[in-house]
Structure formats: structure tokens, C-alpha cells
């Protein structure tokens, strides 16, 4: 399979970039968020944070979260799963 083309190709992140991006969305210091960080451990992941995440996913990746996705996210791992499923994240 050839390399992905189109608008999303430029937006595909590796793990490190994704962690930095998540920190930016939730207005946290870079480095404070790791792949195992839980939602309850991120002060900025409140109702406004969730809205900011919805907007950021929409604007950067054209990813539209379902109610089920939003309610089911318990941490960075779940968010990574969504990003992988949508082809926006590469790497283990």
C-alpha cells in the first residue's frame, strides 16, 4: 500500500507529537501527559476541555466524535485508540 495522500496525510502524528498536541488542547505543560494518563488526572479535561477536544479533532483531522466516543474516553489511551482508528496516529 502506498503512502497516504490528501489533507490527513500532513496531519498524521507520531506518539510524541500526539502527546504534545493533547497537552496543548487541555492547556497542560508539555511532558505532563503520557500515554497512560487518565482523564481524571488532567485538570483541563473538564467540560470545556471536552469541547475543546471535539473542536480540535474536527478542525485538525476532520474527526467527528460520537456521544459514545465522548462518554467512553477515560484517558489518553482511549483517545489514542480513536486517533489510530481514524488514521491520525501512527506508532505503537
Amino acid at each position: 500500500m502506498g503512502e497516504q495522500e490528501g489533507p490527513l496525510a500532513a496531519a498524521i502524528m507520531n506518539i510524541e507529537q500526539a502527546l504534545e498536541w493533547i497537552a496543548e488542547v487541555f492547556e497542560e505543560s508539555p511532558g505532563r501527559i503520557v500515554t497512560t494518563t487518565l482523564r481524571k488526572e488532567i485538570p483541563g479535561w473538564d467540560s470545556l476541555g471536552t469541547l475543546s477536544l471535539i473542536a480540535a479533532l474536527d478542525e485538525r483531522f476532520d474527526i467527528h466524535l460520537s456521544e459514545q466516543d465522548i462518554e467512553g474516553m477515560q484517558g489518553v489511551g482511549d483517545l489514542f485508540e480513536i486517533l489510530r482508528r481514524q488514521g491520525a496516529l501512527q506508532g505503537a
Binding site: L48, L51, S52, I54, A55, D58, E59
Partner: protein, 148 residues
């Protein structure tokens, strides 16, 4: 001081853009402190003016999501002083408009010169959260004039 920071809507396309005006009266009490001998309109008020203008473009759609509420200032900069009595022209372009959030790119001008700009993020509050009979008189009056 009341917190209605838009005097008049000049033009409005629901959900898309708005141009509005605000003139801060020279007798506003805060000018005594901001600053003594050099009164200028505070940047937070310029941001709120732009936010209120942008919210009118969103609220004019009358969507069931409710009233637009400023939730986040994504960026803001203040380039020129706005003095007591200056008429500020407020421009807002809605750049994202969904059922749960909206974004607006705004700028403020005095005498054709840019004085401030801001990127603002809005959420929505159901109308029944507000006092019964609550209405936005500036927006309602503009829409009523347009309908005539």
C-alpha cells in the same frame, strides 16, 4: 456599568458574520483608574465587545442549541489605544459553527484603523437557563428592522 457592550448592529448575516458598533461613554467610572490622566478602554472590554458582536451572529440563527457564550479566548492582541468616546467598529467572522461549539475571528477598528483582534471560542447555553423573558434587545431590534 451595564454589560451590554454592543450599541448597534450595522450588518449581520446569521451564522456567518456581523458588523456592529460600540462607543464607550467618557463618563464611565473605570476611566478614573484605567488610567489616571490617560484614560483608555481596557483590552478585556474590547475582547468582550468583539465576543458580544460575534455571539449575535450566532444567536441570530435561532438554533435549538441555545445562546452563544464566550468559553475561551484563543488569542487576543491590542494594537492601538481606544480613548473615551471613540466609536469602535466590531467585525466578526464565524469560522466554525456546530451544534456544540463555534469559533469567530474578530477585529475592532476606530476611524478605519485596527485597534484589536481576537480569535474566540463559544459554547452554548440552553435558553431556558436564563431569566424568563430574557431577550437581546439590540439583536431583536435589528432583526425586526430587517423584517420590515
Amino acid at each position: 456599568m451595564r454589560f451590554i457592550l454592543v450599541d448597534r448592529i450595522v450588518s449581520l448575516e446569521p451564522g456567518l458574520r456581523v458588523v456592529a458598533t460600540r462607543r464607550v461613554p467618557p463618563d464611565e467610572e473605570f476611566f478614573q483608574d484605567h488610567f489616571p490622566g490617560f484614560p483608555v478602554v481596557p483590552g478585556v472590554l474590547l475582547t468582550e465587545m468583539m465576543g458580544q458582536a460575534a455571539a449575535k451572529a450566532l444567536d441570530a440563527e435561532r438554533r435549538p442549541r441555545g445562546k452563544a457564550m464566550l468559553a475561551k479566548i484563543l488569542s487576543a492582541s491590542f494594537r492601538q489605544w481606544v480613548r473615551p468616546g471613540d466609536e469602535t467598529l466590531l467585525h466578526a467572522e464565524i469560522t466554525a459553527n456546530t451544534d456544540s461549539y463555534a469559533n469567530a475571528e474578530c477585529r475592532a477598528e476606530v476611524n478605519g484603523q485596527g485597534v484589536a483582534q481576537a480569535k474566540l471560542f463559544f459554547s452554548f447555553m440552553p435558553i431556558d437557563s436564563f431569566a424568563a423573558g430574557f431577550r437581546d434587545a439590540v439583536l431583536d431590534d435589528f432583526l425586526a428592522r430587517q423584517a420590515r
